[in-house]
Chain length 224, copies 8
């Protein structure tokens, strides 16, 4: 007697967990933690872990994390990247995605990108605090930059680093503006608009502070 | 007696043509036509053609094109995409980059992307006028969408098409907002901000009306 | 001896309660709770309950609710929708207004709409977490969508869901942008502008997070 | 031998005419004229007229209209509303949608709404130049306002008229901001934001200058 | 032996108290409390009281007020208007300035205006909660409005009340936008821009929440 | 047999001329010329002249003026202020309203104010090109400034002049920002926002380039 | 009998020429040409030339220039920089101010700076088209950069060049954003905000396209 | 045996301390304290003090300062300017940079500038609370203003002070907008845009609240 295929969607009332996404994308749905109550995250995680044996939640604060980990203690939480995760990619993807950031204050976003990459099975070497105001710090790593298959470049304030990096390499660059700065930085809008206006070709841009989205895009490119 | 290597840069006074870019990126520098006088474009094209036997100028209006083509008659000009070009990529890249657009008015930007791809040696199938207000027009092509290696999705007004397409495919999507619309469309800013805020993961964004930049990014991905 | 008609307005000094509104609109004035002190809400509620035997207050936080309910304990408070109410519509309106929301984080706004509808005597079936990034979740309910007489569609981030829904149905759609999202979402402005720019015809828009206003408009349409 | 059903979509390459929309919505697709070349409009109109015997094009300037009418001379063009149309609704809808405008300069948008309503088979009485700076002009028509089943209220500058009208009636109001004004009017954004922030309940809003969209929504309400 | 005239300015290092202003303007300098430490306010008040026997401080929170009143206990503090003052105008000005507000939440700004007027010696009758959504509440007071010599009209959200009032009266109107509202209200910017764009002539505008500035302007007009 | 009173409103279909305004405000309705066709202006002027023997139209360009003056040749047109008028105030108002402007490029707005004042019967001395970058040019006229009963201060770019003038005088100041400037001037928004944020008390603000509105407000103050 | 000193100000009615400025600043007043009629410029130039024997007018278009030069034929006009000038600085200032620009389209602004410097007596070496997308073009001139006493750095689009240059030198940098770019460049606002947010210290910023202002500031620094 | 030169960069993983900057700029790298954890600041300070015997950290709150000073007790912290520093400039620079501020609430920014100047070895006389609303307070110090070699002018709200000061002096002015104000002040954006639009020549602008950057620029000018 034939078995029923598992339901493509778990309807929890307040959420509809899309199990098909693993089939379509190779990775299960990722949960956006901000604005969700800890019990909601916990319930969604239950469904994801039961079906896929791994899960990732982004933008989780320490209080949420603690509550959810009480229900699912085998997970990991990093307070810098604010990621909460269980399990790993079943296999490592070929190539590497370098994560480069302009200043120390951009680290949380850079780490969100780098740790998401690692959860997706991508090698993610870091290069931190190489902003354009001291260009020699960047140029000292010129060769390493050209070795990466994809580059994620994270910067706040005026957001100039991706333009310079894109001009130095041949591989695709994904730029991530951050909300670091004050006054005319407009909570990251200035860096965002600057990256979109960049005269360098070969880069595209994701939302302010969206290290997660950049990592996902980079993994998608490496999976080709 | 040994030959001197060719100069890496042609200094024209008003411009510095970067010949090294072909070595670094595999493609010679592309000229941004807007705000340049026809004679300036002509002089830069002379240097590029002499050294690389091909050249591309973007955002060229019909008057500029006519003057430049008088000096370099072996070129091609398309008034829809506003591209002016000489020569082609020496060889075809593997894979394909689909160019999808939401409405008829988005065609100039979609064609800028598609013709740039072809000049770069990339196969670029089109799917026009499949905006989300009549979703069945898009769903009828679901299979074709999943076959593409990279997708460039062009939309104005609310710019919702890339979110939907990204949810249907596994390949990287590059979203291009256009300045089509009126009132609350804010000359393309609304579509731009919407694409950056999209809940779909696996897409990144380029500047408003920047079909060229999307094509360049797509070719860079296929070149990996 | 003939009776004096009741005063059309109760003047409380800090507020002028408009009792005529029930005659004009069929429903008594609704109180905007934000920025009012609990005692002010209580005093207004007293007048409304004395005259109309029902009342609704929106945007009430838990502290305000507790204080007001101490004076008027026969009321109900829902911390998700932040609504506080007494009584119900004297009779049920014909037809139904479906409330559809894009993500779990949009639930508070969707519930503000749905519970306001119910207080107004309107049947309000819900469909939650059917955002466009996984379009099949929405399409699975295509028939249910076409059955609704009016649709309230709630979405944050890029706010694309109302465009898609409007294209699937023939009934009027009222779109509600939410402040869910970060960075380029601009606290809901991006979703708002996107909905106003939508290429789908047959929808209109209310303020960011204004589930209440959408419900009122929907009830007004069903009352025709 | 059985006949093949007509194609649901006409693919013209640059456009995909959605013939199904008449089945779904009772009205064939309307063409957005702005940014289309006259020949494109003509080709789309050919397909629409062949299948549905009526068509409407919005935002058409006099030069476009002249060229298109040479191919399809049985149409009508109004230079105030900038509408171009052929045929009419097969039957009149019950009820009426009043079109009220604040100033003489708002007339083009008000007429776009009113003539679209008439093309859709809706009775559309007008009330012009009744802005709030001389409130008695409006109050003189209070009774007529309450008689309308739906009201479309058009205003530029500070856009206060819809708030006042909504407070006077019980029927649904659709507010249309216009780009009339200067300086702080911000090309209609101020009126738009004001209408969305209105303290009056029972109104919803469409895009700046979008008389067409308001009419469509009003007709959809009357069709219920 | 002749006496030295008093110094026109008291230099406190962190502040320069302008004693001449009473001679020039008839009223001593008023202190902006926001962003000053309580001791700074106290020190400035000392100088003002010593020389002029009266003083006014605006935008004072309850903690600041308590500390300052410990040093200068003969003052008054109102937590609604956030004004702190000592003494009164030496004589009453002729005429009256009516203070009209649209909603209960606008009261703090309206009271800042009304109490400043009273401190300046101006009769300030109030009319509260007469927003345009229930226009009859306003029209019931039409005669009282025309009796006022100057009108200060306070409104948040869409800020439509001043346009309507200006159309009803012949006296100058000073409009005060408030930060009351949410979403599209943009913290009062929408009301501000709307008032500036108003089609009614005979009104001018002050900053968001600036009840104090409106009162000062009104008193200046009455002093003519 | 008693005579019928004249109609309070002339309904021209496209406009409703408010004749009562002269009774209410002492001055007939003024016509906003921008966006009206010359024939519309002519028809409105006919009604105004027949009833009130004077009329004013603002923001009229030279082509409109020529056409209208052909129908009503007894009028005057000034191409600097863009005002078109017939007749004058029946009597001179007491006092004076000084019109002060910062730079030569602000003259059109200053003249719109000054000539409107004169049409309203107000004495309007001018002081031109006294911007704050050369403060001695202003201070040389300090005494004249204090003599004026009301001051209209016109400035573009950073709009600092009204703050300085308000600090020098005791009379009410009406500030008019202009659209003069480039880049960060944002078409007058910067001057507008600066004037609203001014630390000087005793001034209020009208819309960008609205010399007419400032004059009206000044006349209303003098009429008290 | 003693001679009267020359008037410090020439009052032309529409303008007040500030002759004292040469005494105060060492240079006579410069005329802002935009928005002035050619005859006004001519009249101002007459006064300046009579008293100071030199004059500079900025932002002059070709039609204005032609008319003015007919009256004062000994002047010079450059259509790139849009400067019109007569005479020169009486002596050369010590040191040099390098003018560096990112792209060919920024040339008009760079030339406005460089030619203003020359008119002020400053040596102004140029370095054109060295934008950050090809950083080696800039680094090739590293030594020349460090030799300049002041640097004016002109860039549009994302405006990243000044950050990089400031990091390479020890001398003060004045950054000039230009309106070059499209879409997210927002007519130069993005470059402006980026420069203000720059993480490099040792630079300050002037208005969009304000090459003149940067030159003036640079000359002031060299004059110390 | 020859000694190895010290490393130009200390790589701390989360930060890359640029020791070369002292050689290039004469001053070691300054640390931006905002968004860094106290331990990170401490670690960076350790490296700076070991190599350069002085260090400066900006935007430090009291909690951070306390922790860092526990590790490095020989430093100084000022809670007004929020600066934390060790050591001083090895020698005094010639000349002086006056720091002028408009109001008492601007003091923190003015002190950030003045104390940074002193740490850099620059004489920094202050002139506080001389805003343009009482221009005589400023004019009383006219001579002192002209004596300064560079002027830093700090102002919030409408930010008019730098325009006036620049018109009074011949030396370079650096304008610093502050976030002081409310409503239309837009957190300092209005002052920023006003300063950039100023009609006075001879001034340039730094970011909102960036007293540090202004001081650095001033010192760079004095070092010439
Ligand atoms: N930090 C993030 N930024 C943007 N999108 C995210 C983020 N985290 C998760 N997502 C996406 O948000 C969607 C889930 O939203 P939700 O259903 O509210 O959990 C999924 O499509 C995720 O891929
Ligand atoms: N003036 C208008 N404003 C907004 N949408 C419109 C307007 N005119 C037509 N449309 C809609 O635009 C779509 C057609 O766009 P297109 O395919 O570019 O002709 C249809 O869905 C129409 O209902
Ligand atoms: N330049 C102007 N700026 C603002 N309002 C004006 C202007 N000119 C006339 N108005 C006002 O606009 C209204 C007339 O508008 P309309 O009915 O369109 O002619 C009257 O209330 C006038 O007082
Ligand atoms: N308050 C400030 N505003 C702007 N830039 C600063 C400030 N304080 C320090 N910096 C600069 O920021 C850079 C150091 O940033 P970080 O590496 O994150 O410490 C150095 O180039 C400093 O000159
Ligand atoms: Mg660093
Ligand atoms: Mg279409
Ligand atoms: Mg979800
Ligand atoms: Mg009118
Ligand atoms: Mg109320
Ligand atoms: Mg001048
Ligand atoms: Mg170039
Ligand atoms: Mg003060």
């Amino acid at each position: 007697m034939s078995e029923r295929p598992p339901e493509p969607i778990s309807d929890l009332g307040f959420a509809r967990v899309d199990h098909d996404r693993e089939a379509r994308n190779g990775v299960p749905e990722v949960v956006f933690g901000e604005g969700k109550r800890a019990e909601q995250i916990s319930a969604i995680a239950s469904r994801l872990l039961a079906r896929h044996q791994r899960a990732l939640v982004t933008r989780v604060d320490e209080t949420q994390a603690e509550t959810v980990l009480r229900d699912h203690p085998e997970g990991h939480y990093d307070p810098i990247s604010r990621l909460l995760w269980w399990g790993q990619a079943p296999q490592q993807l070929p190539g590497s995605a370098a994560v480069i950031c302009a200043g120390t204050s951009d680290l949380p976003v850079a780490e969100e990108a780098a740790q998401t990459l690692e959860w997706l099975g991508v090698h993610a070497p870091r290069l931190n605090d190489v902003g354009v105001a001291g260009i020699d710090r960047l140029l000292a790593h010129r060769e390493a930059l050209t070795r990466a298959d994809v580059l994620i470049v994270v910067a706040g304030m005026e957001g100039a680093l991706p333009s310079v990096v894109t001009g130095l390499v041949n591989s695709p660059v994904i730029a991530v503006p951050t909300s670091v700065g004050y006054g005319a930085s407009l909570q990251g809008l200035t860096a965002l608009l600057g990256m979109l206006s960049a005269c360098a070709t070969g880069m595209s841009v994701v939302n302010i502070d969206n290290g997660f989205g950049a990592a996902w895009q980079a993994a998608g490119i490496l999976r080709l």
